[in-house]
Amino acid sequence: MALHSTVTENKIQYKFNDTNLERSEPNKFHARELRTEEMIINLGPQHPSTHGVLRLEVLSDGEVVKDVVPHIGYLHRCFEKHAENLPYNQIIPFVDRLDYVASMNNEHAYAMGVERMLGIREQIPKRVEYIRVLVAELNRIASHLIAIGTYGLDLGAFTPMFWAMRDREHILRMLEWTCGSRLLYNYIWIGGLFYDVPVGFEDRAKEFVDYFRPKLDELENILITNKIFIDRTAHVGVLPMDLAINCGVTGPMLRASGLRLDLRRVDAYSVYPELDFDIPIGEGKMGTLGDCWDRTWVRFQEMKESLKIIAQCVVKLKGDHARTRDFDPQALVPRKIRPKAQDFYIRAENPKGELGFFFRADGRNDFPFRCKVRSCCFSNLSVLQEISKGVLIADLIAIVGSIDMVMGEVDR
């Protein structure tokens, strides 16, 4: 017994109790209140088709989903509490970990917000901005490749996953070459960059664009024009535009519902006004406007637009804003970041939607008084309950996959 008590004090961290789940994440529906034909099915949080630690409580009648209640928070890492105790520049690594498959886009939005608060937005060199856009668009492609590859996997298409991962690997290697890490970069700093892109990066980016264009068509051919894929996704999970706007849905999901809204165009931040790209919207080609097929199709088209942007950035980075010997991307990085007292809300177009940061600076501290993340995946996921009533359970998987959420950003 003596041995056991010491073990309890030092080693065992968690005491199992079968009421733990009921107390920590209680179901919304209770078995005793259900009708005879109804049944509660628990999906996740470790189910591979839920893309991370999402738990879905499904109220089903046979194969038909009557209601679905998402339970989130399994990946909550207290970003907002951490941010209240950190200087602005040290928050950037935490920002990386929000949407961890599109870190560059997160950093870009965050750095832009703090720069505008400090009032140094106009002074940022054009070369820095073009590099930021270049790496952010590369990362956008990587993020969409994950979305499409895993979505194919959810629906039983195995090959596109490998093709998507193969091409994503090129992007990750390029970004690793730039800043030393593959996923969580800490590359875009407030007022500049960690380092200039390596010599030859522009050529490699151009090479990648030329390599990837035909591969993308190939991927499109094998996946979204496939009969099985169309059968699984067309007319499934239809999200009408008015519901999408009312639920705060943004990004490719909103565009797939037919609204041409892209914050890169609307807010015209960074150097996007100087770049030429289209905003693809869903057309309901294979089914209804705003179904799962449209969402996947919009992601494909967006990758093509990103390739266009990358090609233009490369031209600019080799021409007007070419590398010079005395160019220092850290020249404007402030040694001490203390914005004057203000409330500031910045938003930017992430691969998954509108990423917003709300800052309150009190003017006396190097820490934000409050830093709130408006997470796009969080709002996009909240529409799941609306669009999956009355669908089959297999279609529920298709809908969850087409939302393309990253739980790191849902839970923060």
């Binding site: 961290q13 519901l243 706007i245 009312n246 705060g248 809204l261 309150r360 839970d411």
Partner: protein
Amino acid sequence: MEQIITLIESIINESVKREVNCTPETVNLPAGVFVSVMEGLYQNPSTYFDQLSCITGIDNGPQANTMEVIYHLYSIPFNQSLAIKVVLPRDHATIDSISAIWKSADWLEREVYDMFGIHFNNHPDLRRILLPADWEGHPLRKDYQHQEAYRDIKVKL
């Protein structure tokens, strides 16, 4: 922007307070009238704020003894952003829910409730969303004291 201010003033029949140093423009409203203003902003064809982007809770600490809820609205057809700020007393932080107007408010209000303990009246399903249901306290309050252990797991090492 002046149009919007006039509209809000016509709804509540008194002059409104505009905050300084805020991006986007922020209007301070009392908690009693704010739901009718939100409805007006949503329905009026000249403003048409059809998207509620973000709800932020702020705790100003025990000294100031106030809490704030900030709503960020965006009008897609007019490309206009607006923030509405409501200041609440800290010991009785209660506000009406606007989830009947914008469905996105549902989860966003649940998150504010989870983190700050601000109660939203008439919310359809006010449960904790990110933290476990049996977690003690609301962590983003400035005077938050974390519990010693959660299920025998030490909270702070």
